[in-house]
């Protein structure tokens, strides 16, 4: 049974959703603006027989995650941008060793220490692998609390299904805001399907080893990489997620994810009330990017307007998806400054008029 409707903060929602998705282990390190998440877990996990450890560093935290995953558990860590940079080494190992885990990033402004306001400048890091080696991680971007409640379940399922780390993106705003949420049916970890690769002692079977170093002369590392690529191809084909809003007859479609999509949705509502045919395309899976769905909306009568809380990262995936089917425009605000719906309205009107007053035309 889905839960009753509750009023919850974003960070708490993600944490509670993880527990309900069968996660009993959390390892993390404090960083603003996501401290409420580990704090929630430190209270909640002991109630369900789980374990919370405040690690000595992000490096330690992600490697505790690696150990817990090798032992077969659903396991979560969370951080914010600079902390997620530190976790990258471990994420590459998780990918190479094909171990599932969920890593939540409540993004803040960068580069460097940046600031603690909501930002979305970690798109490249999240969607392009982030650390060394040929790997990708599925990336799910939430736009609010109900999204977090559902996508957290989705993230754990994807992680287990494909034996891969999965990134769950929010930002400082989504983490702090309170909204009504309804959680999906809770999962008892005992009911999860058994995993045939985990390390639990070799009683009655041959010993197992989980590793990513493949030095063999017969191209072992090549074959391992090709197997990973097949997996990413399957993920790319089967796991695209997106939402369309008022997009069907739109003359201008704003493409935005996360907090930006909430702002864009308000702008679309206002423009529609004013008789302007505006629509929204919201990618939910940033990797794999919902390329075909966006391409299907494009055409010479439709202008595509990309709005990001960054200086321009996702716009490259939009260019790859849309190509020359539509004119593409970009408006981005980096550094933790949050535009208003009126700013996005002005951008979309400028795109329709072609006067270049807000944002810029993107040329392939």
């Amino acid at each position: 049974m889905p839960s009753e409707k509750m009023l919850m903060r974003g960070s708490d929602t993600l944490a509670e959703a993880a527990v309900r998705a069968g996660c009993r282990y959390f390892f993390g390190y404090p960083i603003t603006p996501q401290n409420e998440l580990p704090e929630y877990m430190s209270r909640r996990l002991p109630e369900v027989g789980g374990t919370f450890i405040q690690a000595e560093s992000e490096l330690a935290a992600i490697n505790m995650v690696l150990g817990a995953s090798a032992a077969g558990a659903r396991v979560l860590t969370s951080s914010s941008s600079p902390g997620v940079s530190l976790k990258q080494e471990g994420i590459s190992y998780l990918a190479g060793q094909e171990l599932p885990a969920v890593i939540a990033n409540m993004m803040r402004g960068g580069p460097g220490l940046g600031n603690i306001a909501a930002s979305a400048a970690d798109y490249f890091q999240a969607t392009r692998g982030g650390a060394h080696g040929d790997y990708r991680t599925p990336v799910l971007a939430a736009a609010g609390c109900q999204d977090l409640a559902e996508l957290t379940f989705d993230a754990f399922d994807l992680a287990d299904k494909y034996r891969t780390p999965v990134l769950l993106l929010g930002d400082g705003l989504i983490g702090q805001v309170m909204e009504p949420v309804i959680f999906p049916d809770p999962i008892d970890p005992a009911d999860l399907p058994p995993k045939d690769y985990i390390l639990d002692g070799c009683a009655g079977r041959e010993p197992r080893a989980i590793y990513s170093m493949l030095l063999g002369q017969q191209g072992e590392l090549y074959h391992h990489n090709m197997k990973l690529q097949e997996k990413y191809q399957e993920i790319a084909e089967k796991e695209q997620r997106w939402e369309e809003y008022q997009a069907e007859d739109a003359e201008v479609i704003v493409v935005a994810y996360g907090t930006a999509s909430r702002i864009a949705m308000a702008a679309v509502d206002q423009l529609r009330a004013d008789g302007v045919k505006a629509g929204l395309f919201r990618p939910i899976s940033l990797y794999p990017y919902p390329k075909q769905a966006l391409r299907d909306l494009a055409g010479d009568k439709v202008k595509v307007a990309v709005f990001e809380l960054s200086a321009g990262q996702m716009v490259e995936d939009v260019m790859l998806s849309v190509g020359e089917r539509s004119e593409i425009y970009f408006y981005g605000v980096p550094g933790g400054v949050i535009p208003t719906p009126a700013d996005v309205e002005a951008f979309l009107l400028s795109v329709l008029k072609g006067d270049g007053s807000v944002g810029r035309r993107v040329v392939l």
């Binding site: 282990y25 390892f27 374990t51 450890i53 690690a55 000595e56 560093s57 490096l59 330690a60 935290a61 490697n63 505790m64 995650v65 690696l66 150990g67 817990a68 995953s69 090798a70 032992a71 077969g72 558990a73 396991v75 080494e89 471990g90 190992y93 060793q97 390390l199 639990d200 002692g201 070799c202 009683a203 009655g204 010993p207 197992r208 080893a209 989980i210 590793y211 990513s212 170093m213």
Partner: protein, 254 residues
Amino acid sequence: MSQVAYEKIFTRPESLKPVPTHYCPGCGHSVAHRLVAECLDEMGLRERTIGVPPVGCAVLAYNYFNFDMVEAPHGRALAVATGIKRVEPDKFVLTYQGDGDLAAIGTAETIHAANRGELISCIFINNAIYGMTGGQMAPTSLLGEATTTTPGGRDPQRDGRPIDISRMIAICDGVVYVERCALNSVKGIRKAKKAIRKSFQAQLDGLGFSLVELLSPCPTNMKMTPQQAWEWIDDQMMETYPPGVIKDTTGYED
């Protein structure tokens, strides 16, 4: 019925796979592997054990040890082991780490796992040099020791002094047992086995974190014969790292 003519009195432990290792002649790893394997066999732990090897010469230990193992990034073995032990508290968890792994890039993980009193046994191979990468300075390299990155010898002003991580972690309350042994004599090897056994017992009894440091010869990178490398441990290394019990609050009688 004829009598059996010969009786097998010495054999490979079940916890070691019947394969040759890549270790150099005279290297301490083969001895250390065997001691760990013998203790696991004798204590009936093989089928409950999960091991975490380092990055370094023993990175391929999962090819030699005959129990479950997971690779850790360089220095992170004790963090990985922490994750395993917290999920599977009834399993036996050990890390096997070199000096660079444990006392340089993984210093934070080492100190904090020890300080949390994680129920993990840590086997620490100290050979005072980076082996796998070809003989660079280790955190434990001796003053004056020539390595490929300290060609004129380790200089305390420039390179800092040898770190004694075993004594450092011994001040943590979560640590119940730390002993330093040397693998350069039959007597030392026998002592090392006793120490490893004790460390394993401390984990089984839930007492806390324990570490056994093994002074180990690396003739290849020291550019010595195996015999010279053994003598170097006696003549040079033990001055900086004297063998003996550094901490023992287990209450076990020897």
